[in-house]
Symmetry: D2
Subunit: 340 residues, 4 copies
Amino acid sequence: MVFVLKPGAAQQKIQQFVLKIESRGFKTFISTGTEHTVVCLIGNTSTIDMDSIVQTNDIVEYGKRVTEPYKAVNRTVHPEDTVVNAGGVSIGNGMFQVISGPCSVESEEQIVMVAKSVKASGATLLRGGAFKPRTSPYAFMGLGEEGLRLLLTAKRETGLPVVTEVMNQTQLPLFEEIDVIQVGTRNMQNFDLLREVGRCNKPVLLKRGLANTLEELMMSAEYIMSEGNSQVILCERGIRTFETSMRNTLDISAVPLLKQKTHLPVIVDPSHAAGLQVLVAPLARAAVAVGADGLMIETHNDPAQALCDGAQSLNLLQFETLMKDLKRRIAFEGKLIGAV
Amino acid sequence: MVFVLKPGAAQQKIQQFVLKIESRGFKTFISTGTEHTVVCLIGNTSTIDMDSIVQTNDIVEYGKRVTEPYKAVNRTVHPEDTVVNAGGVSIGNGMFQVISGPCSVESEEQIVMVAKSVKASGATLLRGGAFKPRTSPYAFMGLGEEGLRLLLTAKRETGLPVVTEVMNQTQLPLFEEIDVIQVGTRNMQNFDLLREVGRCNKPVLLKRGLANTLEELMMSAEYIMSEGNSQVILCERGIRTFETSMRNTLDISAVPLLKQKTHLPVIVDPSHAAGLQVLVAPLARAAVAVGADGLMIETHNDPAQALCDGAQSLNLLQFETLMKDLKRRIAFEGKLIGAV
Amino acid sequence: MVFVLKPGAAQQKIQQFVLKIESRGFKTFISTGTEHTVVCLIGNTSTIDMDSIVQTNDIVEYGKRVTEPYKAVNRTVHPEDTVVNAGGVSIGNGMFQVISGPCSVESEEQIVMVAKSVKASGATLLRGGAFKPRTSPYAFMGLGEEGLRLLLTAKRETGLPVVTEVMNQTQLPLFEEIDVIQVGTRNMQNFDLLREVGRCNKPVLLKRGLANTLEELMMSAEYIMSEGNSQVILCERGIRTFETSMRNTLDISAVPLLKQKTHLPVIVDPSHAAGLQVLVAPLARAAVAVGADGLMIETHNDPAQALCDGAQSLNLLQFETLMKDLKRRIAFEGKLIGAV
Amino acid sequence: MVFVLKPGAAQQKIQQFVLKIESRGFKTFISTGTEHTVVCLIGNTSTIDMDSIVQTNDIVEYGKRVTEPYKAVNRTVHPEDTVVNAGGVSIGNGMFQVISGPCSVESEEQIVMVAKSVKASGATLLRGGAFKPRTSPYAFMGLGEEGLRLLLTAKRETGLPVVTEVMNQTQLPLFEEIDVIQVGTRNMQNFDLLREVGRCNKPVLLKRGLANTLEELMMSAEYIMSEGNSQVILCERGIRTFETSMRNTLDISAVPLLKQKTHLPVIVDPSHAAGLQVLVAPLARAAVAVGADGLMIETHNDPAQALCDGAQSLNLLQFETLMKDLKRRIAFEGKLIGAV
């Protein structure tokens, strides 16, 4: 249940109202918008007389029952688009960003070179894996802490904010200077990790699990927000289906559906979606047209020699060519790219 | 195995070459392009010495092994885009068409009114179900033969070519004046029906099955082409996955993948894909951007009262609004809509 | 809505009651059990006052709303197990049957030899494909009409009733002497074919589609029953999932779920389910234990040379060994195999 | 690549052989069977001349290339069934165990009462969740550390070894007295957790992820074994498919397939598989018949009041009835239940 307060309600009156609600055994979540403050009740509200609360609290404009299990991420609770500030660039509400870089950080030379190149082509954030989740215990696992250090070097050299994946909560202290923490596909329902990144004061890029529904994705975002961190970016990256000609099936419909249900920005990863380099450009175009707020694209200086996921990476020239096309398309949609 | 002949090879020499091949126990499929004629061998070619055939037949430019199980639909065999002439409008190779109309033909008044309206908005073909496959034996099955008659009335009144679904081969004699025969999702692997429409001299719109791979879709197109009908349009309309918030999951990647593997035009049906009216416009935009050759969109004069599939139909005004947007996008892609 | 009539209600009174119901615009389906006759109303029953009908018709014991979309196949309507007489052997209600034979009929010698062998091992019905649905138009399609003739020869030589697949309704006149008509996986929603086999006076073996829900399977059985043929056997044969180590995933839970929802017998095809010969025996054992009413197992005289599906076929000795084991298990479940 | 050593090869010679291999840059994994010791090479073995190694090392009986990406879990490397000692009861190679208990530990009274009852009925291990992964951050999360304490109380009262789930590696120190550590479905690819439980000297029950292939499951077991812990029990618990009438689809074929590919014991969880209490008994019967090494069944003193997953739990009487039936079936398969 949600109570939308009147514009200009005094802070003290809001606190009294919240205390009264909580004294009845409910947890609350407060969303402060540009005009309205919304107080969201969490718990079994079936016995509450909503109308009498509206009538007896003069700061309340109206009440509304929210039947979805997600509260904080629900657009009903927060009708305006959330804009996430990712190290100085904004994502959401008309601001479109392109995150690019290699699957794995391999060396200082490599990451700095790729960072400079993708920046010159128009990327606005840098990605690169330091801790890599791999199906096989015998595969390359990333450079770890050293990889984080190299990412920060590339950030200093280019000014690009960096996005990289955390694999478990004990690693979080190492992420202090990282701009955006990525929670990967296989960790979308690692609930303890979600709670911990919810306690960080930093944007979180949450990737959809291979076989998770959109409602489950929103519930995982709810975990993060319920700990107080509302800087969440959702990422559609392909789901597992019966189709075998591609690695995964990009669920492009997820973008408009998520944007209808939630206020959080939604980006698309066309590289992991199909796992095929030749499909990256058409899927990126589709993502812009369908209403996504950004893209995450793997680019590598030498895809044939990449230590992981080479088959899906663009080379530097392919990324440059794609960005020229995407800039026209982002403008066609009336959106802006880069810092404002 | 495929032999690409030299430009200008004499018809008589081609025939001799084909006879020689067939005398060794192979079926052949001949594809006549604007420059090259391609002779495709069907059968187990593992014992053939390809090089010696190239060297001993002076009309042959080169040979190539085709490992995919589809031959006639393979882009290797026919590198240029196939353009299908659908009752006077062209689909493929830069020509984009929008098929619209109601799920079911309900009455003369309804179909003529919808046809006039979608034509005014910019649709270039009319759809409408006369024979309706329904999960329940107790649901509305369409007007049948009378439905076909009413579609032809709407065609006369508007000039729009018509597309409608055949449910079994005994109905085909009734489709003589229909412009495009649709083979529906549930019949994608009704192989006897595929053969029969392969013997019709008429474009076929082949919808992907709910759980069929892209290779199976191409093999079903191969059934049609192997009977001599190369006027096939492929249609992606959503596949069945674990996701429950939408009726099906639009496999947008299918479009560029199919266009890479085959020369046939590929269209998208955003109405059936999600089964939600609110997703039709964003998915249609994504389809244009990803490279589709057309769209099939359900439009109804009164979706709330539709005898089937109302939840996914646009009303006439929504379709008009969408078409204004789509025309800008089709132009942005450098494509044309309508007859040329 | 269903009305359960009192035991011993007079036939004339039943007819009057049905006429009264039908005059209000409902179709009816009448199920005559050993004790009770049940009258099932088909149509929108939301406006009906059920209690007043019970009170004003003295032959009615009680009424019940059936919310499932399937009526005739619903166990509520027909609480006892249906027993299907398949050419002299009974399937259902404690009678367990094993259908075996090759994927395709290849020659008289082959089918007679396999038939004699599987009979000696304990099979109680013979299977063999005459019309084969194949993904590729260039694959072996079966011997067609000649295949049916050879099956009947094998039936005469062994006494085994025969099961074979129909691919389209124009073939049905050829099936006059066939004991059980199989509707295959790809035709589960070929609704026109379902209607036509519903008009045959012969058992129908209905296989679940690759990606069809159990409710859709029951609705397809409803098509057959709604035309008057209640001799329907359901067959679980594996569904399409993301798992790639097997051809399909056997949905073993389908058996108890179907038997709870419907009164029809349910059998399992472990050969097509996994597509791997080595899994046939363990899956057959699981099917017996889970409560299936029968099995359909592919057996071939020479699997390595089979014209189709050799990889999943047992050879004659493997089938003999398996049957020895299965007979003990069928007895353990308190069921009988063979004619009674 | 695997080298099978001659029976009775001297320990010192084995060490020399292993050192020689490792000096060429390979990791090794040594499996000591009852007769043969097997040395498994991990790394790119394509450049190795296997025959010359066999000929030049007299303790080597023969070499074999293993193409599967899993080594330590591969049955080729370790042909005999692994038997896991779970707190005094053996699982695998003819020893069948039944793990039962509530979804969550709710109170001392509850867990002790359930433990006594399931033990009396024949269960041989106790399960109960202390840390519960829940889709919603607002749902009951389990009693945590207190839950572990209560489980150990129930263990002292009944003698049943206990199985409970770990949610992240920081919790592992709390699991010292727990007999079997469960890695849950959502953590099957939490690779850092897998490594950590691989360093515990304790059996691990590894549940298959909702949308993970069998190969991925075996690779996750490989993570655990590659850290030196070979006490791994695999658990099939249903996968996510398009079917909506059940929560998940039990992949019964996984059992014989896993047992063919790997030497690890495989158990089935029929409670989570379908999520329906009425299906637990038939699926448990199927699991015994298909060759599983054990069952994990949720039993609750009062399912209607359970704090989670009540819909799938048996009550104490239902479990007692089921166990009577299962004991007959386990004996029928020639297997034993309980400690030996």
